[in-house]
């Protein structure tokens, strides 16, 4: 009957109006009740560089954790193993990286509990990370990291990257942060399919030295990690040699003493 219908619709309307008004009061971007959202990073790591080489993946990252403009921590390990086949390197907020490591730990644990002789490879882990990061970004609460994921499974090399908004791709050489601007041109020029281990390390060191000169949050203490079909090794921390003996550095005002 028309009168009943009208009443029903009136109830629906008022309920809807209430919902809308309460939504407007605590709107999607209000900060009163949502103080848990990540607004900006605090302790950050700088770039990570990864390349594919003949036998697997090589990754390099320095060990600095900057707190704003001070270099607060100088022994942060930003390259970690994930399961049997993968290696993850992270730049960005260190606490979010530690949270991601806990998620990955749980993932690997559940996978090994199946006890089926199969284990998650780098492609699967990369996909998992992409989903996690993208969904967090959709909730306006991102994990403030750019990750590099590499590994070898069944002879297949894999190297991929995910950013904090969920942009992911797979490539022969990846870099995060400042490495995008300073390392990528060198890698595009000099990367080859059949790099040996020594050549790969030299290439990574070239890029890391560049970053050391031109990135203000870089520290001269880095680790290089290698992952192949056999397994994973992360090197001991070491530092790079730098060169400062240019004539123009030593005497910039030659021929015009007193100028600046």
């Amino acid at each position: 009957m028309p009168s009943e219908q009208k009443l029903g619709s009136a109830i629906v309307d008022t309920v809807f109006a209430n919902m809308v008004s309460s939504q407007n009061e605590s709107s999607l971007l209000s900060s009163e009740g949502d103080s848990q959202r990540t607004q900006y990073p605090y302790v950050t790591g700088t770039s990570v560089i990864g390349i594919k080489y003949k036998d697997g993946i090589l990754m390099a990252a320095d060990m600095g954790g900057s707190y704003g403009s001070t270099i607060r921590y100088k022994s942060v390990e930003r390259l970690k193993q994930v399961g049997k086949h993968s290696l993850i390197g992270a730049s960005g907020e260190i606490s979010d990286f530690q949270e991601i490591l806990r998620y990955l730990d749980e993932l690997i644990l559940h996978d090994s509990m199946w006890d089926d002789g199969n284990s998650l490879g780098p492609k699967e882990v990369h996909n998992y990370l992409t989903r996690v990061l993208y969904n967090r970004r959709n909730k306006f609460d991102p994990l403030w990291n750019s990750l590099v994921l590499g590994g070898v499974k069944n002879g297949q090399k894999y190297l991929g990257s995910v950013s904090m908004i969920g942009v992911h791709f797979e490539d022969d050489h990846v870099a995060t942060g400042f490495g995008n601007h300073l390392a990528r041109p060198i890698l595009r020029e000099e990367w080859r399919e059949d790099l040996t281990f020594e050549e790969g390390v030299k290439l990574l060191e070239k890029c890391m030295r560049n970053l050391l000169y031109r990135d203000r949050s870089a520290v001269n203490k880095l680790q290089i990690a290698k992952i192949t079909e056999e397994g994973l090794t992360i090197s001991q921390p070491y530092s790079l040699k730098t060169f400062w003996n240019f004539a123009a550095f030593k005497n910039p005002t030659v021929g015009a003493e007193g100028s600046w």
Binding site: H181, P185, G255, S259
Partner: protein, 328 residues
């Protein structure tokens, strides 16, 4: 139609010629309230020219003040806040580099000039002449780099006539940095200045606010990081001319291919003691491919590509039922 707005002016009458520092004269304060079309004196003041008319009517023309007049900045800011789009400008969005080799200086630049996302000039010249032995690459606003380098080039020429000697790089450096500092960064010109004079080869970078650096190798512009990556990994002192030109070309190519603001061709300029070589379009790594040699012809009428006639077939046989089908 009469617009009912009158200008109210309060002007402090200070005689500028007696003051030591004419910069300290307070500008007439104008509050826009009403104006009448009929009276020229009461038009809304929106340019220094109108102010000049007013000044002329009230006091004798004195020496125009030097330096940048910041009077209109507050008004411009207010207009931008209200939503007025300020006119765009041609930026170079560039890769420019310089390095010192064993006998002199080599400068390099790409040739793309951008206007926002559009490439305005595919083959512009970014290496500007300053003196026979000094050249300057410019990044930033194209008009600013052109004007500034032309201006200082003229001043250097006059100085050469005055002194009878070859210009020195530090002279050009000091003239450029004083000019840019006086304009407090509003002249958006980032320069790589290089040359060889009696004291040897010199290479300097000059930033829009007026600070300078003396360097063995330098890069500026949006592609500076890509080019610097190449320089930092491969530069050493005592390069030969060919090695230097190759390294500069490599660095500019790195900027062209890895930076969106740089592109097209590579210009190189080699300056040595007593001679210089300006290699315009030394390398053209972006040629136009797939050009039809016969050209394109377009017919003047609509071309018929295909004629196909499909007769309409009835899918459903309409059987008229006794009586109207629409009745209930």
């Amino acid at each position: 139609m009469q617009m009912t707005t009158i200008i109210q002016m309060s002007k402090q009458t200070v005689n500028t010629s007696k003051l030591e520092n004419p910069h300290s004269v307070l500008q007439p304060k104008i509050s826009l309230l009403f104006y009448h079309f009929s009276d020229l004196k009461f038009l809304p003041i929106v340019s220094p020219l109108h102010k000049l008319y007013l000044k002329m009517s009230n006091e004798a023309m004195d020496v125009p003040k030097t330096g940048f007049s910041f009077d209109l900045c507050r008004r411009n800011e207010m207009l931008t806040k209200k939503g007025l789009k300020s006119p765009g400008y041609l930026k170079t969005g560039t890769t420019i580099v310089g390095l010192i080799f064993e006998n002199g200086v080599i400068l390099g630049a790409d040739t793309r000039a951008t206007e926002g996302p559009i490439v305005a000039d595919k083959n512009c010249e970014k290496i500007h002449y300053m003196a026979p032995n000094i050249y300057c690459c410019g990044a930033g606003t194209a008009a600013d780099t052109e004007a500034v380098t032309d201006n200082i080039s003229s001043q250097l020429k006059l100085h050469r006539y005055h002194t009878g000697r070859e210009s020195r790089v530090v002279t050009a450096l000091t003239l450029l940095k004083s000019h840019l500092f006086r304009y407090q960064g509003h002249v958006s010109a980032a320069l790589v200045l290089g040359g060889v004079d009696v004291t040897g080869p010199h290479l300097h970078t000059i930033y829009p606010h007026g600070s300078t650096d003396t360097l063995p190798f330098a890069t500026m512009g949006s592609g500076s990081l890509a080019a610097m990556a190449i320089f930092e990994s491969e530069y050493r002192e005592g390069l030969t001319r060919d090695e230097g030109v190759n390294l500069v070309t490599k660095a500019i190519c790195s900027g062209i291919f890895n930076d969106l603001g740089s592109g097209s061709n590579v210009d190189v300029c080699v300056i040595e003691k007593g001679k210089k070589e300006y290699l315009r379009n030394h390398l053209t790594p972006n040629p136009r491919t797939y050009i039809s040699s016969k050209g394109y012809t377009f017919s003047k009428k609509t071309e018929v590509l295909l004629t196909k006639i499909t007769p309409l077939k009835e899918l459903v046989d309409v059987v008229p039922v006794g009586g109207d089908a629409m009745e209930e």
